[in-house]
Amino acid sequence: MSTPPARTPVLSLRGVSRSFGAARALHGIDLDIHAHEVVAVVGDTGAGKSTLVGVLSGALQPDEGQVLVDDAPVTLTDPAAARALGIAAVFQDLALCANLDVVENLFLGQEPVRGGLLDEVAMEKEAWKLLGQLAARVPSVRIPVAGLSGGQRRAVAIARSLLGEPRVILLDEPTASLGLTQIAEFLTLVERLRARGHAVLITSHSLSDLQAVADRIVVLRLGRTNGEFDADRVTYEDLLAAMTGVAR
């Protein structure tokens, strides 16, 4: 993949820190994400990947530092505010309501309304379309999510992030519970997202899954950035060294 030219990043972090009590999850993070770009954030368990996604998606507020959209500082008070700025996230735990059905989950918080009432027909039609794009096999869009398998739930969560054509899509550990075929399907989907002009950020604790699709790889270690690599040129050993902190 081509290296992104020097241009304004869609979403940036400048010196962002975040603590949970005495534990410092993020420490002085700088990060840029551009349109037409897939950024992989890799790191060991506890490196701060989920916290990073939390800050970018508005689910968590940074203690220090700034979040910038199009180089302008913003305050993401909650996920809805981030959504309004075109930032969508799929969390590691998927954040689906098990008692709601597939359609209800897909459109939760952004339901189309027709004459004061929910437009179920429009939602259901769009739901089939989105799931079709992901090649997701779901027995029915009208059964509660509690009745779906782990892979099917992940597909629902990713389909939800695509609603409203967000500019930035954040995927927290999307490959964690997928089989090999599903990972391949997922990577194809990510390439399609990039081709459509989305900026994509994916976190993973696995090196091998994302190198095929990522343009840049950012390594997190113990809450700090520990190297940024061109995905085409970096070697597995370089990444492993940066992740574990072992000198090569």
Binding site: D78, A95, C97, N99, L100, E120, P144, G151, R160
Partner: protein, 395 residues
């Protein structure tokens, strides 16, 4: 890997699965109500007389409205234990305001409802800002509001409403004229049929799976038959009471709000998984506050209807009995205690079941003790079914 599409469950197995997981909540409960009616009719021939059924519907309305509020809080996985006390306070405000102080009755009713709104907003604020479990602070609210009720009533402790006041007439002697009843039935059936057919046409147009025309017509026919039978049979006596019509109307409106509005979907989402709902962009705090406010307001309205029905407010208005009956009605009617599941109609079905048991036992000259025991057993059965359905869903 791929979804198991191959095995089509047998129709019987599918029905059992839906029953087991509580996907079809209203039908089995309506069946239970019919069963209770058949049993009491067999024991006492006057149970299903139109006179008794009119009384039954009239007696259900006030506590039914309170149960409707409880259904809303249960949807969130929360509970408001002070609904009885709030209804008692509302009754006291109406009686004391209009009789002792001399306010116009309408103003007294508005003041009572406003007190309900205020109490609910307070509960919502305490819950969302401080994170106190609702069953504890509404228990505190029960005592505080009960105390306020005694203070409002003053030393005599009992205030009578004049029988010619509109509230008493509305709750005791006002019945829908026969022609109006039939007009309402025709209107409801027409709107229901129109909505179903239009929905079907839109689904077909959007190339989605749609119910067959026959199944739509059967549903419309069943609704028309139930409504017509009820209006015709009650019409052989005094007819459909205004206060009962108001209650059923409120249930239908709440059902529409829960199923077909964004607010209703937010309520079910927050009840299912509040954190997931928050991250999806649902304004969780506002939803919680709105539900506590709606619950207390409905409780206050129930108190207003109760003071009209008894033409008096006293220290026993809205006793603990009322809270327990309202909560029991919501659960017996099929709304889950675990949040996120239920239906507004469970308030109607639940209160009808409790009231039927109560009236039926009275007709059999059984006393209070038997009534408590039987209602308690029915509640226990309902809670056990709720728990079993939850287990079945989680598998």
């Amino acid at each position: 890997m791929s979804a198991p599409l191959a095995t089509q469950p047998r129709p019987g197995a599918e029905l059992w699965q839906r029953l087991r997981t509580g996907e079809m909540s209203a039908l089995p409960i309506a069946g239970a109500l019919v069963l209770i009616w058949i049993v009491f009719q067999a024991l006492n021939g006057s149970f299903l007389s139109s006179d008794n059924l009119v009384n039954l519907t009239q007696q259900s309305a006030a506590t039914g409205v309170i149960a409707l509020g409880v259904v809303l809080t249960l949807h969130l996985g929360q509970i408001d234990l002070s609904v009885g006390a709030v209804s008692g306070l509302a009754a006291a405000i109406v009686a004391v305001g209009s009789v002792r102080i001399g306010w116009p009755l309408t103003l007294a009713v508005v003041a009572a409802l406003a007190a309900g709104v205020l109490i609910g907003l307070l509960y919502g604020a305490v819950h969302t800002r401080l994170g106190v479990p609702s069953f504890v602070f509404t228990l505190a609210g029960l005592l505080v509001v009960g105390g306020l009720q005694l203070r409002v009533l003053g030393s005599t402790g009992s205030v009578n409403l004049p029988f010619q006041s509109w509230l008493v007439r509305f709750c005791q002697t006002s019945f829908l004229p026969s022609a109006l009843s039939w007009l309402v039935v025709a209107g409801v059936v027409a709107v229901f049929a129109g909505a179903r057919l239009r929905d079907r046409a839109r689904r077909l147009h959007a190339e989605l799976s749609a119910p067959s025309l026959a199944s739509v017509l059967v549903r419309v026919g069943v609704l028309a038959a139930i409504l017509a039978a009820a209006v015709a049979y009650l019409g052989t006596n005094r007819g459909v009471g205004s206060v009962f019509a108001l209650f059923v109307g409120l249930v239908a409106l709440t059902d529409l709000a829960l199923r077909r509005t964004r607010w209703g979907r937010f309520v079910r989402a927050v009840g299912g998984d509040a954190e997931a709902a928050r991250r999806a962009g649902v304004p969780v705090r506002r939803v919680l506050v709105s539900v506590f406010a709606a619950c207390s307001t409905l409780a206050a309205l129930g108190g207003v209807l109760a003071v009209g029905r008894l033409a008096a407010a006293n220290q026993a208005s809205g006793a603990v009995d009322v809270t327990l009956t309202a909560v029991a009605a919501a659960v017996i009617g099929g709304t889950s205690m675990y949040g996120g599941r239920g239906s507004a109609w469970s308030a109607l079905l639940g209160i009808l079941i409790i009231q039927s048991i109560s009236t039926g036992l009275t007709l059999l000259n059984m006393d209070q003790s038997v009534r408590y025991v039987v209602t308690g057993l029915v509640l226990a059965i309902a809670v056990v079914i709720d728990a079993l359905q939850r287990r079945a869903r989680e598998q």
